[in-house]
């Protein structure tokens, strides 16, 4: 027996040790992820009655899915709002965080303090906090409009006044909508790009300095250096960040669809239907992600290939 073990090749022994380190994860994955994942698929095709003794399943075919897509007035509306949000937010978050990361990557006095402030959202930001603040500020806007009191001052800066100003000078509202939306979102964007800035910073640090030196020697301007070196070198990280942003906003607590799923499950106690919309939602995220990855990865530049 002992002899047999010694006869194994190095590669085989390596594989065994590697598996020893990794397989605990697989066990956890099967118990806490794969099994519930499959079960939720089964639930989505069923009507589920949960009782203290356990649960009963009644197979109903595609009824839950049909209900979500054709009868439920809320689901489709929430879904499209969220998807619309994502497509507006992604470019804004990516551009903003790349811009800030490039600035923070330079050496200047007080850099530590500035960085500390910029990563504050990563620490402080929680869905609950943002939800509390945002729901308040909307109400406050109404209250403020009524009473003109000190509380009309919301914690979130909003482009309300600026919006009125723009509409007055331009007069053309449909044309202005994207700009106004972007202005209204500035707050959200800045608060949601903490992790993205971190990832971009790490990426910027990994660009070999020799590339920049050569560019300087050749007399390239900062503008050219950005487009010809920084952007191509950082493009794989743009992909990472886009994926992170999509996942982050699709799984955020303040997300309407997610709150609706929770509400259906725990207020209306319609577990089967809740599983069905969760699955629909997941499939749609999957499609959105795949499309985004497919579009971007064609334009990504890898230096080692």
């Amino acid at each position: 027996m002992k002899n047999k073990k010694k006869l194994k090749t190095l590669a085989q022994r390596q594989a065994r040790i590697g598996r020893l380190f990794v397989y605990p994860w697989l066990v956890g994955f099967l118990i806490f992820f794969a099994w519930p994942f499959i079960q939720s698929l089964i639930f989505s095709f069923s009507q589920l009655d949960v009782s203290p003794e356990g649960y009963k399943l009644i197979f109903v075919g595609f009824r839950n899915f049909i209900k979500a897509l054709r009868e439920d007035p809320n689901f489709i509306r929430y879904l499209f709002t969220e998807i619309g949000n994502i497509f507006v937010n992604i470019p804004l978050i990516i551009m903003f965080s790349l811009f800030i990361a490039i600035l923070l990557n330079q050496k200047f006095k007080g850099r530590t303090i500035v960085r500390a402030i910029f990563f504050l959202p990563v620490v402080v930001m929680s869905g609950a906090l943002l939800y509390v603040l945002e729901s308040n500020s909307l109400e406050q806007f109404n209250i403020g409009a009524q009473s003109g009191m000190a509380l009309s001052n919301s914690p979130f800066l909003r482009g309300i006044d600026f919006r009125l100003f723009l509409v007055r000078i331009m007069g053309n509202i449909p044309f202005l909508m994207p700009i106004i939306n972007a202005i209204d979102r500035i707050y959200e964007i800045i608060w949601k790009s903490g992790v993205q800035i971190l990832i971009f910073l790490a990426g910027l640090q990994s660009i070999p300095p020799s590339l920049y030196e050569v560019a300087h020697v050749e007399g390239a301007t900062s503008w050219e250096i950005f487009w010809k070196i920084t952007l191509p070198m950082i493009s794989p990280i743009i992909l990472v960040n886009v994926i992170y942003t999509v996942i982050d906003s699709f799984t955020d607590y303040s997300n309407d669809v997610l709150r609706y799923i929770l509400e259906v499950a725990f207020r209306q106690l319609n577990h089967g239907y809740s599983a069905a919309i969760a699955w629909l939602y997941f499939l749609i995220i999957g499609v959105v992600l795949l499309v985004i990855i497919w579009v971007i990865s064609k334009r990504v530049f890898y230096m080692n290939e």
Partner: protein, 317 residues
């Protein structure tokens, strides 16, 4: 002192002016952005410190005339602070420790050993990140309600355990490298270990160390930045998480701080729909500050590691 010709000195002056101008622009930009980032915190703080007279007084914007801690007291009781603080600490420190231990071992296995299904497992790890937790919600709820693995517990105790209303649903998966965003942590460790040089590892093997010894003696001490990063992220995310506690914990005594914050308005108003914003908002803001304060203090002491270690871990590589 060196003497320049006239054209040269003009050029130098131009260059300097340009530099100053850019610096000024940068400073302005940073001040503006810092204002936007700090404003909600400052605003909440100032509102929470205002007395009722100050709230109605339109001449008071930022600095309250009559400072009061009334709102903080109210929030303190509404949040059930000491108890909830203890609960929050439990559900963030324990998972963070397990996350560091488990994810670093898994990351090590993935980064340093070759085996056939390695890439498949890595793909599965990334896959867990994409699936929203809500998809698994109901099965997990049912699962923890009648917790049992291979009928082992039934064999010993006669009936399955009910783990709802305990913190086990949040802690258990982290022991095996699962749980809140742990795929990301495994990814960080894997990238970090992959970037480490082979020489040390080989030297350890030559000296007769086993792979596990090598991991403990060589890889763990050298991956301090990654360990700090993962610990901080895990701690902060678990502290702020509302979703898991809100599903698995129903007992008010066991609520965490962030969960109480999400419900604070209902707690203050006692569930009535009609309420006076002037009465509710200041304590609500005070509550928000009380909830983020521990992480804020923690962050002030560790932000150096936070920023620098992320750079050195090479999340991106």
């Amino acid at each position: 002192m060196l003497k320049y010709r006239k054209e040269e000195s003009i050029l130098i002056l131009k260059h300097k002016l340009y530099g100053w101008f850019m610096m000024l622009l940068k400073i302005l930009l940073f001040i503006g952005l810092a204002y936007v980032l700090l404003r909600p915190v400052l605003f909440m703080l100032s509102t929470a410190l205002k007395s009722r007279e100050d709230l109605i007084d339109p001449t008071v914007v930022w600095l309250p005339k009559h400072l009061t801690l009334e709102n903080f007291k109210k929030a303190f009781y509404s949040l059930n602070y000491f108890n909830a603080f203890k609960n929050s600490l439990l559900v963030s420190i324990i998972p963070a420790i397990f996350n560091v231990i488990a994810c670093s071992m898994i990351g090590y296995g993935l980064a340093r050993f070759k085996f056939k299904e390695r890439e498949l497992i890595f793909a599965l790890i990334l896959f867990t990140l994409v699936v929203p937790p809500q998809v698994l919600l109901i099965p997990l709820y049912v699962f923890y309600q009648r917790f049992d693995i291979l009928s082992l517990i039934k064999l010993i105790k006669g009936e399955p355990l009910n783990l709802l209303n305990t913190y086990y649903p949040i802690i258990l998966p982290t022991i095996l490298g699962g749980g809140l965003r742990s795929g990301l942590f495994i990814y960080i460790f894997r990238q970090f270990f992959r970037g480490m040089s082979k020489e040390l590892e080989e030297a350890a093997y030559v000296d007769g160390a086993s792979p596990f010894q090598t991991y403990v003696k060589i890889f763990v001490p050298n991956s301090i930045p990654a360990i700090i990063t993962v610990f901080l992220f895990s701690l902060v995310w678990h502290w702020n998480d509302v979703f898991e506690p809100s599903v698995f914990i129903g007992d008010f005594e066991k609520y965490t701080l962030s969960l109480n914050l999400a419900n604070i308005r209902a707690i203050i108003t006692g569930g009535t729909q009609i309420w006076d914003p002037l009465l509710i908002l200041p304590p609500q803001y005070a509550g928000a500050i009380l909830v983020i304060l521990p992480m804020l203090i923690f962050y002030i002491f560790t932000q150096r590691f936070f920023v620098e270690s992320v750079e050195r871990t090479g999340i991106v590589g």
